[in-house]
């Protein structure tokens, strides 16, 4: 099961966090700081899976942005690693269409200014800590409905 999904920048600031298990707000900051410290300090040639307390962290870096997923040992590490990439590709697909930007989506600005949309995308992909959808078109469908409504 996926326990949490974090997007963090290189300075360690959280840009998006989603918990699939109730974690006290006061504890979140400490957990995030801990998790980020654990992943950001790692070199490129180190492996992308880090044991952290009862979880395993799977992380992947995109330019200045890190995505860190906390999972239990019933989850398949590589499939989560690729799930992160699939998620990034969905964001890419969505934002490069909507946002006119010189830099690719990996820019954290996209996420900050469109937090609600990123959440929608994430909710379409992961629900209650489980993978529900991996098909990019279907993931984006509700968002496109939303955009259409706004335009009209």
């Amino acid at each position: 099961m996926i326990k949490f999904f974090l997007m963090v920048n290189k300075q360690g600031q959280t840009r998006l966090s989603k918990y699939y298990e109730n974690v006290d707000i006061s504890k979140r900051a400490a957990l995030e700081a801990d998790v980020v410290k654990g992943c950001l300090s790692r070199r490129k040639d180190e492996c992308s899976f880090v044991e952290y307390k009862d979880y395993k962290l799977v992380y992947r870096q995109y330019a200045a942005l890190y995505i860190v997923v906390g999972i239990t040992d019933t989850e398949n590490e590589l499939s989560i690693y690729e799930l992160v990439h699939n998620f990034i590709e969905v964001l890419d697909k969505y934002f490069s269409r909507v946002v006119i930007y010189p830099s690719p989506i990996q820019s954290e600005l996209d996420i900050m200014f469109n937090l609600d949309k990123v959440h929608i995308i994430l909710d379409e992909m992961i629900l209650n800590g489980h993978v529900v959808e991996t098909n990019k078109n279907r993931i984006l469908a509700p968002l496109l409905v939303l955009d259409k409504m706004v335009e009209s």
Binding site: E46, E77, F113, T134
Partner: protein, 962 residues
């Protein structure tokens, strides 16, 4: 000014975010945020009704502030209002806010539930999805009460849109996890299983999560999912890389779905139906074959997705542990990964191989990779990979490679990362002992361990080396010589001084003949370390000195002088002072005979139970501690007065401080500060083996468990054993590790190991919820006549288990004589106020004490004939429960603990086994014969042993296994 997405761009929000980003300091950021919070608060409180757009904007701002780590204590009401908006964008933000920020604030939940109810009945799929997502995210009890009936209907209704089905499946899973009592199985259950056949892959993906969870809890009800999952998997695996269109990821068809299907299959044993099993084996072979094919893409995403499936398939093969062919192929595949340039693959391969090493079919295959793994330990740049390599070395270690592995681990320890040293030390110590043929090697290894990583050597480790040296006289001289040499290093670790003090105090005489290690040289060497040591070590050294006086009368005056000096006899530490005074007195007034008796060599680690421990068992509660203290004092007193008790004082003192036979042989618990232990004269062991006050709480008596501070919840009577307790027990007859019990709240895992008549069981209590368990307590008890047959020892666990956390408890077991009943384990705790009271049977069965015995055909039948009296035999004829599979049967018989004898029975279909049950009182030889009849799907099981109760019990236990 950065661009904002067109359409609903919220300019105010963009400005705010930019401001925050431009803040130069944390203070500036907080200032800006506070300003914004004040602004939003006033807007919300203002008289002017806000329009939907503004509400949405402010809620977005609050969300953003929340993500920066600031708690938000208002705005909830506004968010709830947004739920009833009929604008999708506003509704969406409302739900988002609630799912991020609301836990279970009851008043709000009712309002939220109302909105959800409206949206669920709206028949608008987008709204329905939002509402379902919200339930899945918040998932409180009230929500379960309101919707647990409705959601299964939505899930299986024919006209429900696919996307809604997906959300409904995960939503139901959430409710089932929070309140299983409210989600009732019914007509929908069978239809849920058939969602595996749904033509829509997304629906299948979502449904599997639900089915996996449900079938873990109700395996029988969901058994049909196995064949459906296999056929689904087979269709995916055999499809061309483009068949599944959008579900193909970098030329890999539906990787996530495949992983989930393979994971679901791991909830079940191998399929019984031959056709299904054949199809599955074919799938697994195809997956293994694909790993060898040239990649369809050079992209790393392609190989990752492919390997994700491969690792999951290997996990399933390991889970079945019944297909030697597949196991060996899996092992070879992982062997290739061990040398792969991707660190991720090396890591996962090491991890996966670790589980493979414990399968009898692949253990040998795993061992062939030893050089690669050792190399990984030495050269990997990533500590987590090195850690995996160390784990794997530990798992693949057996008698044939123990020396090599232990040597490699020791040399690695010199440079190992601090974070894993302690664990490494324990592993080395365990392996060294487990596979020691030659005990001087063992002693060398442990002393090396102390030299290299003294700080990480826990007390158990050095206790253990001393116990072994004491119990084996062939190694004592060697140990004394080695430790003497080790102490000569200019700087040696305090743990080395402890071992040195103890061993020289007992066996210094064995090397005293050599002038280089004459008594005085030994004493001076020890005493040169004295001033650098902590109080407990000094106390131990003082005891070693008094032992020296007995061993070497010529050192008496030197030692007395040392004891007499002010720094000892007037030491500010009361423990040291008392020892100095008492030892000085003892050495001057006691005759040589008395001295020799009092300071006699330690007896082998004990064969009989301590009188004080027995006393302790009758006592309950914290009072027991003081009993021990008083008793210790009294004995000390009597000793000074001439020692007229029947026991020799040294013996009683040593026994008093020795926890229990089982604990002794399998390693001791850490001793708490020695300062609190009673300094009874001559009780050298108090230094080393005293458990101090902890001992008082460690005993188990017939009534249950002694706890020093019983939590209030414990006043309730333990529940009677669960109805399924017997079945759970049967699951562990042929295995030692696994999950004993699991419900919504709690998971209990077991790891156990047995040697001769002793065992040690680790219980892992995992809190599956996010809420802490309070007043957690466990009690192990022996019903009926079991207390005279089994001796169990355990310690109290912490009364609190945090959500998601796990605590461990160790049970030490000693088998006194053969037994039938199983000990009971009662667990009590409070979860959200409600007392949970569960009683299980601890899977301790008589066969755990089997020592396998190899013998040839002639010998077997000779013994078989010798045991021909009717009461020595027990026989059962029964129908096979799972079909007759030779490999499975073999694995079970090995798991039973006996030796499986090949080429003994004239009929090759039959299985014969031999073993000896080791109890403290006696050894019971057992012979076993299992005759399968494939045609009738029946077995005949015959047990013969020298004791009728043993034959019968093992026959009963084993008959349940097939």
């Amino acid at each position: 000014m950065p661009a904002v997405s067109k359409g609903d761009g919220m300019r105010g929000l963009a400005v705010f975010i930019s401001d925050i980003r431009n803040c130069k300091s944390k203070e500036a950021e907080i200032k800006r945020i506070n300003k914004e919070l004040a602004n939003i608060r006033s807007k919300f409180k203002g008289d002017k009704a806000l329009d939907g757009y503004s509400k949405k904007k402010y809620v977005c701002k609050l969300l953003f502030i929340f993500l920066l780590g600031h708690d938000i204590d208002f705005g909830h009401m506004e968010a709830v209002n947004l739920l009833s908006s009929n604008k999708y964008t506003e509704k969406q933000i409302g739900y988002l806010f609630i799912s991020v920020l609301v836990n279970s604030n009851s008043e709000l939940i009712r309002l939220i539930n109302n909105a959800i109810k409206n949206d669920l009945s709206s028949r608008n799929p987008t709204f329905m999805c939002l509402a379902l997502h919200c339930i899945a995210n918040v998932g409180s009890r009230e929500m379960a009460e309101a919707f647990a009936g409705e959601i299964p209907r939505i899930l299986v209704a024919g006209d429900t849109m696919d996307s809604v089905k997906q959300s409904a499946a995960l939503c139901l899973l959430r409710l089932y996890k929070t309140c299983p009592d409210l989600v009732l199985m019914g007509e929908w259950t069978s239809r849920v299983v058939h969602l595996l056949n749904d033509q829509h892959m997304g629906v299948v993906t979502a449904a599997i999560s639900l089915i996996t969870c449900l079938s873990q809890k109700n395996p029988d009800e969901f058994k049909t999912c196995v064949s459906l999952a296999v056929s689904r998997l087979s269709r995916i695996v055999s499809s061309a890389s483009t068949d599944l269109q959008d579900y193909t990821y970098y030329f890999v068809p539906a990787p996530w779905l495949s992983c989930k299907l393979l994971r679901l299959l791991q909830c079940y044993p191998p399929p019984e139906d031959g056709a299904v099993k054949g199809r599955l084996v074919e799938c697994l072979e195809t997956i293994l074959n694909k790993a060898q094919e040239p990649p369809k893409s050079k992209k790393v995403q392609h190989s990752n997705a492919k390997n994700a499936i491969l690792f999951e398939a290997i996990a399933l093969i390991i889970h079945y542990d019944s297909e030697p062919n597949l196991l060996v192929r899996a092992c070879n595949q992982l062997g290739q990964f061990l040398q792969h340039r991707e660190t991720n693959l090396r890591y996962l391969a090491l991890e996966s191989m670790c589980t493979l090493a414990s399968s009898e079919f692949s253990h040998e295959a795993v061992k062939t990779h030893i050089e690669t793994v050792i190399n990984a330990l030495k050269t990997e740049r990533d500590v987590s990979v090195r850690q995996r390599a160390a784990d794997l070395l530990y798992a693949m270690c057996d008698r044939s490679n123990a020396k090599q592995i232990v040597a490699e681990m020791l040399s690695y320890l010199e440079t190992a990362d601090y974070s894993i040293r302690e664990e490494m030390v324990l592993k080395v110590a365990i392996l060294a002992e487990k596979y020691a043929v030659d005990y001087s090697w063992y002693v060398d290894t442990i002393l090396n361990l102390i030299r290299i990583a003294g700080d990480y050597v826990s007390e158990e480790v050095w206790y253990r080396v001393i116990q072994i040296v004491i119990n084996r006289d062939d190694v004592q001289g060697y140990a004394a010589k080695t430790v003497f040499e080790a102490l000569q290093a200019p700087a040696c670790h305090e743990n080395m001084v402890k071992v040195g003090g103890y061993i020289l105090g007992e066996f210094g005489n064995l090397i005293a003949g050599d002038p280089r290690s004459s008594p005085l040289v030994q004493f001076n060497l020890l005493h040169s370390k004295f001033h650098l040591c902590s109080v407990p070590t000094r106390a131990l050294l003082l005891s070693a000195y008094i032992k020296f006086i007995n061993l070497f009368p010529e050192t008496k005056s030197t030692i007395q002088e040392v004891l007499r000096c002010d720094s000892q006899i007037r030491n500010s530490d009361v423990e040291l002072q008392q020892r100095a005074v008492e030892y000085l007195k003892l050495s001057s007034i006691a005759s040589t005979d008395v001295l020799a008796t009092v300071l006699e060599e330690m007896p082998p680690f004990p064969e009989r139970e301590s009188s004080i421990l027995a006393k302790l068992k009758k006592k309950k509660g914290p009072g027991a501690v003081s009993v021990e203290l008083e008793d210790g004092k009294r004995e000390g007193g009597e000793l000074n007065g001439g020692g007229e008790r029947g026991d020799t004082p040294a013996m009683s003192a040593s026994n008093a401080s020795t926890p229990s036979p089982s604990a002794d042989l399998l390693g001791l618990r850490p001793a708490p500060a020695v300062g609190s232990a009673p300094p009874s004269v001559g009780s050298l062991l108090v230094d080393v083996f005293s458990e101090g006050p902890a001992a008082a709480t460690a005993g188990v008596n017939d009534d249950g468990f002694l706890s020093s501070a019983p939590p209030p919840a414990v006043s309730e009577e333990p529940a009677p054993p669960l109805p399924e307790a017997e079945d759970l027990l049967n699951k562990f007859v042929c295995k030692n590790n696994g999950v004993l019990f699991e419900n919504q709240l709690l998971q209990i895992g077991i790891k156990s190991e047995y040697r001769q008549n002793l065992g040690r069981m680790y219980l892992f209590f995992g809190n599956k919820t996010s809420v802490q368990f309070v007043s957690f307590s466990t009690a192990v008890s022996c019903p009926g006549e079991l207390p005279t047959q089994l001796n169990l020892q355990t310690k109290t666990v912490e009364p609190l288990i945090e959500g998601g956390a796990q605590v461990q408890q160790v049970v030490n077991i000693e088998c006194l004589t053969d037994f039938i009943d199983a000990p009971l384990l009662n667990i009590k705790f409070r979860y959200g106020g409600a007392l949970q009271n569960i009683t299980l049977k601890l899977p301790v069965t008589i066969n755990k004490f089997f020592q396998p015995t190899e013998m040839l055909s002639q010998e077997f039948f000779q013994r078989w004939k010798q045991l021909s009296q009717p009461q020595q035999e027990a026989q059962k004829i029964f129908k096979s429960g799972h079909g007759i599979d030779t490999e499975v049967v073999k694995a079970k018989l090995l798991g039973l603990g006996t030796a499986l004898l090949e080429n003994v029975d004239p009929n090759p279909e039959n299985f014969v086994c031999a073993g000896v049950i080791q109890t403290k009182g006696q050894q019971v030889g057992c012979l076993l014969r299992l005759e399968p009849n494939a045609q009738a799907q029946m077995y005949r099981l015959t047990l013969r042993s020298s004791k009728d109760t043993v034959s019968k019990r093992i026959c009963d236990l084993l008959a349940e296994q097939f």
